[in-house]
C-alpha cells in the first residue's frame, strides 16, 4: 500500500474527480435521497449487501469524503461523521454500551463532555467513573466487571494537560476494553492516538480540523485493531442483528465493523447526521491543517512565553513551556507543538479577567476554540458561572483563570492586544 505523507493526505485523501462531471473539487451533494438502479439493488442496499447511497441521514457522498479524509489522517480503517463532536461521542457509546454498563473517563475534560457523560448518559443507565489523565493507574483502579470502555482527551481542554496515552492504552489492553481518545485539541498533525494504542478516535471537527469557526461537525475513526468478539461484551457488533435479518457486523465487515455498525444502527436510529455543506467547509479547512497547526503552535508558544514573563500574570498552564510539569509529556507525545489552547491566571483575579475580555480588540470573546481567529474566554464569569466557588476551582476555572485559543494572526499584534487589555 502506498504510504502518502500527512500533508498530501490532508489535501487529497478520500477525494477524487467527480465520476459524473469531472469536477475536481468535491461537489456538495445537496440531496436527501438517491435513486435505486432497480428493485433488486434497492433491496441489496438496505440489506448492506452492496455499497451505495440510500438516504443522507445514513450516508452522503460529500460527507463520505470527509469521513475517509479524517480516517486517513488518523491512520484508521474507516471514519464516520456526525453533526457535532458531541453527536460523535453519543454514537460511539451507543454502539458500545448497554443499560447498567460503565466506562472510565479522564476527569480533565471539556465541560460539555462532563455533562454528557454524567447527566445525559445516565438517562440511558450508562455510568461514568472518573480517573486522572496523567495517572494511568487511576484508570486501573476504576475498573469493574461492568467497564466497557476507557476515554480521555489527548490534549485536554481547557489546555495544559497532555494525557498519558501509552499508559492508559496499556490498562485498556489488560482489561480488554476499547480505548477511545478525543483528539480534537491535538488533531492528528500533533498526535495520532492509534500509534499509542487507542482503538477509537473522536473529534469535534468544528475546531482545528475545520479550523475557521464556520461549521459544526464531528467524526469517529476506528483503528481496526480491536477484537470485538473476544470478550463477548460488545453484542451490537458480534450478535445476530434483528434489524438487519440477523447479520453480525464484526464477522461481515471485519476491521471497519465498528463504523458500519455505528452508521447502520446508531446514526440511522438516532439521526445526528452531518449536513453536506458543513462537510464541504470542513474538508476545505482540513486542506490547510498542517500549515495552520504549525502556526497555531508557534504563536501559542511565543504568547505563553511572553505571559510567563509578565508581572501581571500569576501562572501560565502551557506544556510547551520548559518549566511546565508536563513538558516531558509534550516532548514525548507531541514534539511538534503543545497545541494552541491554554489557560493563564491573572494576579488581578475575577475583575481583571472581566476587564481583559472586555478590552481585547483582536481576540474574540466567545465560547469556542480552534479558529484561525484568536479567542478568549473568562470561564468564571461565563461557562463555569453556575458552579460554586469551590467547584469552579476544582474544574480549573478559578476567578483568575483566562482561557486562550491562539489563532494564526501576526503574533506581535496578538501580544499587543493582550498587553493593552491587561493595562
Amino acid at each position: 500500500m502506498a504510504e502518502y505523507g500527512f500533508d498530501t493526505l490532508a489535501v487529497h485523501a478520500g477525494a477524487q474527480p467527480d465520476p459524473a462531471t469531472g469536477a475536481r473539487i468535491t461537489p456538495i451533494y445537496q440531496t436527501s435521497a438517491y435513486v435505486f438502479e432497480n428493485a433488486d439493488q434497492a433491496a441489496a442496499l438496505f440489506n448492506l449487501q452492496v455499497f451505495g447511497n440510500i438516504y443522507s441521514r445514513i450516508m452522503n457522498p460529500t460527507v463520505a469524503v470527509l469521513e475517509e479524509r479524517i480516517a486517513a489522517l488518523e491512520g484508521g480503517t474507516a471514519g464516520l461523521a456526525a453533526s457535532s463532536g458531541h453527536a460523535a461521542q453519543h454514537l460511539v457509546f451507543h454502539t458500545l454500551m448497554e443499560p447498567g454498563a460503565e466506562f472510565i473517563s479522564a476527569r480533565q475534560l471539556y465541560g460539555g463532555s462532563v455533562n454528557q457523560f454524567s447527566q445525559a448518559f445516565a438517562k440511558y443507565d450508562w455510568h461514568v467513573r472518573w480517573a486522572d489523565a496523567m495517572d494511568a493507574n487511576s484508570f486501573a483502579r476504576a475498573v469493574t466487571d461492568k467497564t466497557r470502555a476507557i476515554f480521555c482527551e489527548s490534549i485536554a481542554n481547557p489546555g495544559g494537560v497532555i494525557s498519558d496515552l501509552e499508559g492508559i492504552a496499556r490498562v485498556a489492553e489488560q482489561v480488554g476494553v476499547p480505548f477511545i481518545v478525543d483528539n480534537t485539541l491535538a488533531t492528528p498533525w500533533l498526535i495520532r492516538p492509534f500509534e499509542w494504542g487507542a482503538h477509537i478516535v473522536v473529534h469535534s471537527a468544528t475546531k482545528f480540523l475545520g479550523g475557521h469557526g464556520n461549521s459544526l461537525a464531528g467524526a469517529i475513526v476506528e483503528s481496526g485493531t480491536f477484537d470485538w468478539a473476544k470478550s463477548g461484551k460488545y453484542r451490537t457488533l458480534t450478535e445476530d442483528n434483528p434489524s438487519y435479518h440477523g447479520i453480525r457486523f464484526y464477522e461481515t465487515f471485519g476491521d471497519f465493523a465498528f463504523c458500519v455498525a455505528a452508521r447502520a444502527l446508531s446514526l440511522r436510529d438516532l439521526g445526528p447526521c452531518l449536513a453536506p455543506e458543513n462537510a464541504f467547509l470542513t474538508l476545505t479547512g482540513i486542506e490547510t491543517l498542517p500549515l495552520r497547526m504549525k502556526r497555531h503552535c508557534e504563536n501559542a508558544l511565543v504568547i505563553a512565553d511572553w505571559l510567563a514573563r509578565d508581572e501581571r500574570v500569576e501562572w501560565v498552564n502551557y506544556a510547551g513551556l520548559p518549566s511546565h510539569p508536563l513538558h516531558a509529556a509534550h516532548r514525548k507525545y507531541c514534539p511538534k507543538g503543545a497545541g494552541s489552547v491554554f489557560t493563564f491566571g491573572l494576579r488581578g483575579g475575577f475583575d481583571a479577567g472581566m476587564k481583559l475580555v472586555d478590552s481585547v480588540r483582536i481576540f474574540s470573546h466567545l465560547a469556542n476554540i480552534g479558529d484561525t481567529r484568536s479567542l478568549v474566554i473568562h470561564p468564571a464569569s461565563t461557562t463555569h458561572r453556575q458552579l460554586s466557588d469551590e467547584d469552579r476551582v476544582k474544574a480549573g476555572a478559578g476567578p483568575e483563570v483566562v482561557r486562550l485559543s491562539i489563532g494564526i494572526e501576526d503574533v506581535r499584534d496578538l501580544i499587543a492586544d493582550l498587553d493593552q487589555a491587561m493595562q
Binding site: 500500500m1 502506498a2 477524487q16 475517509e68 480516517a71 471485519g254
Partner: protein, 172 residues
C-alpha cells in the same frame, strides 16, 4: 501475524480472475458469504458455490457443487469461506485439482489464516491471499467503498468510471 499485500497485487488479481469457486457459500442471506457472492455477481464475476449440504440446489441462481473435485473447468480462483483449520484440507483439494481447473489464485476470507496451507499452495504455483474479502477489496480499489467512510489508502487524480463499471479499478 496479519499478512499485508500490495494494492497493485490485489488489483491485478481482481482484474484477471473471472470464475470464482466460493467454498462454504451459504443460502442464508445474513451470512457474509452470501453478501460477497451477491456483490461479486453484480460486478460481473461468475461465482460457482461449493457446499456439500446444498449440493444440487441453487444459491442466487447458481448451481451448488459438493466439492472442488466436482467443479467443471475452468475455475480461476478458489475463495475459502471456512475457518482457518478447515482451510487446510480445502487447500489440498484445490492443489489436487489445480491442473484440471486451470486454477491460479487461492484466496482465504477475512479472519481465515493458515500459513502451512498457504505455503503448500504457493509451492504448487498458486498465488495466495489470506485474511481478506474480495468484495471489500473490490469496493476499496474501485472507490465504491468510500461511500462507507472506509479509508481506501489510494489517491488518484483521474476521473473514475462509474462504480457500476468498476470505478477506479477499471482505470489501471
Amino acid at each position: 501475524m496479519v499478512p499485508n499485500y500490495p494494492d497493485a497485487l490485489i488489483a491485478r488479481l481482481l482484474r484477471s480472475v473471472h470464475r470464482i469457486a466460493m467454498i462454504g457459500a451459504s443460502p442464508n442471506p445474513a451470512r457474509p458469504s452470501y453478501f460477497a457472492m451477491k456483490y461479486l455477481l453484480d460486478k460481473g464475476f461468475e461465482i460457482v458455490p461449493v457446499n456439500p449440504g446444498q449440493a444440487g440446489k441453487d444459491i442466487l441462481g447458481q448451481k451448488v457443487y459438493a466439492r472442488i473435485a466436482d467443479l467443471p473447468a475452468p475455475i480461476d480462483m478458489v475463495d475459502i469461506f471456512r475457518n482457518s483449520a478447515a482451510a487446510g484440507p480445502v487447500t489440498d483439494e484445490a492443489i489436487a485439482e489445480k491442473q484440471r481447473l486451470g486454477l491460479k489464485v487461492l484466496w482465504m476470507q477475512l479472519g481465515v489464516v493458515n500459513e502451512e496451507a498457504a505455503q503448500r499452495a504457493e509451492a504448487a504455483g498458486l498465488t495466495v491471499i489470506m485474511n481478506r474479502c474480495p468484495k471489500i477489496e473490490y469496493g476499496r480499489l474501485s472507490g465504491e467503498i468510500g461511500w462507507y467512510g472506509v479509508n481506501r489508502r489510494t489517491i488518484d487524480n483521474r476521473k473514475p468510471f462509474a462504480f457500476s463499471q468498476g470505478g477506479t479499478l477499471r482505470r489501471d
